[in-house]
Symmetry: C2
Subunit: 202 residues, 2 copies
């Protein structure tokens, strides 16, 4: 019991420090870019010694990897949480709600999209998200499969359909949001959503 208490405390403290470094880095990376941010900058701003940084991360690119996963996960999790508050019943509508929620969050937070950029992908989410998931929250994949099973849609391969929806969405919206090219995001949305609906037709 005491042992558990102790290690819990230590983990909390480590998490706190890791988090401080992650959030300070995020602030600096989005302000000056990762290549113009030194480890000295980060540790000075975070109020820890330089050596401490290297206790938690291999280098700043290693930290960047964690940061991308953390921010992506947050985005997906927020979207799922928000969906649960709505009373949508249609499966297709639910999927589009999630995508729309994420787009709207990114539109309001351009620093975030510039940072996670083209790295907000199924690959990142699926492969790495477990690294920082401590609880049994419902992930996007699990939710999708669950909802799909309850619907009367029949897809050849639901995993692959989800993969293509996430990849198409995340790779197309970046340029629309940041450059308005080939179209501003609001004009692009109908094309994207039509394509997603098609994909869900099996």
């Amino acid at each position: 019991m005491i042992g558990i208490k102790k290690s819990k405390k230590i983990i909390d403290k480590k998490e706190l420090k890791t988090n401080k470094l992650l959030e300070t880095s995020f602030k600096l990376f989005t302000k000056k870019g990762i290549n113009n941010t030194s480890v000295d900058d980060i540790t000075k701003e975070a109020g820890v010694a330089k050596g401490t940084f290297y206790l938690y991360f291999k280098d700043k690119y290693d930290l960047q990897d964690y940061l991308i996963v953390k921010k992506s996960k947050q985005l997906f999790d927020d979207a799922i949480k928000s969906l649960k508050k709505e009373s949508i019943t249609d499966f297709k509508e639910k999927v589009i709600y999630i995508i729309d929620y994420i787009i709207n969050k990114l539109v309001k937070n351009k620093l975030l999209i510039k940072f996670i950029s083209r790295n907000l992908s199924w690959g990142v989410y699926h492969d790495k998200v477990n690294l920082i998931t401590s609880d049994n929250e419902l992930g996007l994949h699990k939710l999708f499969i669950e909802e799909y099973t309850n619907s009367n849609i029949k897809l050849q391969n639901p995993d692959i359909t989800l993969y293509m929806i996430i990849e198409l969405s995340s790779s197309t919206i970046y340029s629309c949001i940041t450059n308005n090219k080939p179209l501003p995001i609001n004009e692009f949305k109908p094309y994207l959503y039509k394509e997603i609906e098609r994909m869900l037709e099996g």
Copy 2:
């Protein structure tokens, strides 16, 4: 006349040096990664002084941008050239031929896909490719619109359809080729091509 000859010569020489730096960097970047390659490494390997590097590029990330565009352009141009040798008449088949050609090239050259990675996109191709295009070659976009006009397909917005096809393809194949996830590329291809065909149905 002499004036033209002179400036042509100078441009040739500059191009030669730029190219030498680009190709040397590509070799080193794909071997050790850009963040483990120093400008000293590049110039030593290329046989020029360090200062020369900074006459042609702002820094190594600037060089990387040129390199991504150069390699992407090469890939698209090769695909178009190869298509012209075939006697395909169907528009949809032509589009899939291009995508298939690019995938096969990337499968054979994993260093290339790891380098251009998720940066092989419509955004890069469309925005930056003119920077290094010296002649009037037929680009992918021009070709697509030309072929589309000659076909009897009617799309709501052909530019956006091309955009989505390129983005979906380039973002999905990366993980399939490098990690065999969510499927090995050869198993994934049918799903992708089916989706592209659907997109071209208007």
